[in-house]
C-alpha cells in the first residue's frame, strides 16, 4: 500500500485535547470530528488539509486522554497517515485498532511543511519527493502487522477469533 500526500508539520507532545477538544466528544461522527481537528492549536487546519495529506510531528504524539475520537478526527478530516518521532501509548493502539496508518520515524527534522511524501507501507520506506531523499522505517512487529493486515482490531478478531495469539509473536 502506497500513500502520497502533502506534509503538515506539528511539534512535540501534541495531545488529544489539541487534536480534538473535549467539548466535541459527545459526537461519534467521523466527519464532524474531522471538521474540528486541531482546532485549539491550528484553527485553519481542518479547512486547509486536503484528502491524502500527511501529519508529521515530534515526540509523544497523541498524549493525554484515551479518546479514540482523536484518531477518528484525523481520519475524518482526510489525513491518510501520521508520522511522528514517537507516539503516546493509547493513541498508538487506537490508531492501529481503527486502521489509521502511523509510522515512527527519527528523521522528522529533515521533513518540511508542504513537502510531498510517498509512504510505501509494505516495504517500510518513505520517499520525500520534494527533497529527493528516502527514509527507512522499522517494520512493525508481526503481532501488529496482523491487525493492520486485517484493517483493524474488529476484523482481526472476527477473522481470527478469540483464540488469536495461540502462537508466538514472531
Amino acid at each position: 500500500m502506497v500513500i502520497k500526500g502533502k506534509v503538515h508539520k506539528f511539534g512535540d507532545n501534541i495531545n488529544t485535547d489539541d487534536i480534538i477538544a473535549a467539548k466535541y466528544l459527545d459526537s461519534q461522527d467521523e466527519a464532524f470530528l474531522g471538521s474540528k481537528c486541531m482546532e485549539n492549536i491550528a484553527p485553519n487546519f481542518s479547512k486547509e488539509v486536503e484528502k491524502g495529506d500527511i501529519i508529521v510531528a515530534g515526540r509523544n504524539f497523541g498524549s493525554g486522554s484515551s479518546r479514540e475520537h482523536a484518531p477518528l478526527s484525523i481520519k475524518g478530516c482526510g489525513v491518510s497517515a501520521v508520522i511522528a518521532r514517537s507516539f503516546a501509548r493509547i493513541f498508538f493502539r487506537n490508531a492501529i485498532n481503527i486502521g489509521l496508518p502511523i509510522i515512527e520515524l527519527l528523521e522528522i527534522d529533515n521533513i518540511s511543511e508542504a513537502d510531498i511524501l510517498e509512504i510505501d507501507l509494505s516495504h517500510s520506506i518513505i520517499r520525500n519527493l520534494s527533497k529527493d531523499v528516502t527514509y527507512t522505517t522499522h517494520k512493525y512487529p508481526y503481532f501488529l502487522q496482523e491487525i493492520i493486515k486485517y484493517g483493524g482490531l474488529i476484523n482481526w478478531i472476527k477473522t481470527k477469533g478469540g483464540g488469536a495469539n495461540e502462537g508466538s509473536d514472531r
Partner: protein, 432 residues
Amino acid sequence: MGLTLIEKILLRHSVSKKLEDFIYANVDFCFGNDITAPLAAKAFLKAGFDSVFDTRKVGFMCDHFLPARDFKAANNAKLLGDFSRKFKIKNFFDIGQCGVEHVFLIEQNLVKPGQLVIGADSHTCTLGAIGTAAFGVGSTDLAVAMKEGKVWVRLPSTIKFVYKGKIGKWVSGKDIILYTIGKIGVDGALYKVMEFCGPAMKKLGMDDRLTMTNMAVEAAAMTGIVQVDELTVKYLRQNQKFLSGRQAGKIKNQKLLKSLKSDKDASYENIMEIDVSKLEPQVACPHLPSKVRPARSLGGTKIHQVFIGSCTNGRISDLRIAARILRGKYIKRGLRVIVSPATPRVYRQAAREGLIRIFVEAGCIVGPATCGPCLGGHMGILDKGEVALATTNRNFIGRMGHPESFVYLSGPAVAAASAIKGRIVHPEEVTR
C-alpha cells in the same frame, strides 16, 4: 530472574501463559464512560457482536458530561442504559450513583488487587495504587474486550521510583508526583510502568497513592502501580464496611495479596531515588504537567477560578485538607471556587464530617460529583484570558475552556490557600 509486580499480573492473565513482546490477555473487568463507551457500543453493534463475555465484568459510568449538559450528553447516557439492558450488563451507573469512575470503582470493590483491568479512559492507571494492573485503552479495545474478555498488550518495562526522606507538612502525593513528572518529563515513562515504592510511600495514605498512580499517564506511562502492603489491606478492609452482601466480598485470599509484590531480583529499566525531605508544595504551570515549580515561587500569579475535585484529588482526604485551610475563612472576593466531591459516598462523608458546611460558609460552590470541570466539559468553563488553579491532572491548551485560558495544577492545600488569597500561594501564607 524475578518478575516485577506488573509482569506477574500480566503472566497470570496471558492467554499463551507466557510473557512475550505482545500478549493477548484475559481481562477481569473492563469499563468506559459517557464519552468513550458510546463509541465502543457502536463499534460493538457494527461488528455484529451479540453478547458480552460476562455481564458482571463490564461497567459503564456516566460521569464526564453528566448531569447532562445538553441533549447530546443525555442521549449518550441513555444509549448506554439501553445497551446495558439489551446485553444484561449489570454495572451501568448514572452520575447520581457513580460520580467519578476511578474513585467509584475502588469504593465499590469492582476492581481488586492482582486483577487485570482495562478502561476506556486514560486515568484507569489510578487503580494501580491497590496493586491492580490497570491501564487505559480506546473504544475499539473496549468493544472487543466486552465481547471476548481479552485485550492485546505490548509488554512494558518498569521504572522503579524509590521515595525517601521525611515528608513536609503541606506536601501530599500530588506534590510528589508533580515533582516526579517535572523531573522525567511528559514522555519520561513512555510505554513503561511507573512502580512507586520506598520508605516515604509507607508514610502516605492510600488517597495519596491513588493521586500518584492517577498521574502516571501524564508522564506517558502505561500505568502506575504500588505493591500491596499492610496499608492496602487495611484500606480495603475499611472500604468493605461501606458495602453489603455480595458486593463486599471478602479479603480471604491472603496468599494472593502477599504475592502481589515485585521480586527482589526483578529487572527494572531504571531505578530512580528521590529524596522528598526538602520537597515543597508544587504547581504545574501552563501548558504541560511537567512545567513544575514550587508554589512559593508563583506568588504573583492571579487566578479567576479554583477547582477542587476530580479523579486526581476529589477524595475525602483531599477535601479534609482543603477544609482545614478554609475553616472560618472566606475566599477572595470575585473568585469562583468550585468544590466537587468525587463520588456520592465522598460527598456524604464530607457532609457528615461538616466539610461541606465549611466550604459553603467560605463562599465555595459545592457541585455534584462529575468530571465536567477538569476537561472543560461543563460547570466551570474558562473564558479567554482566565486563569484557573485546579487539583486535576492536565493543563493543556484549552483544557478547561477557551484556547487562550490558563490552567495551573496543584494539590488541595495550595488550591485552598490560593482560594483565600486570589493568587497562587504556599499554604503557610494563610495558616500562620
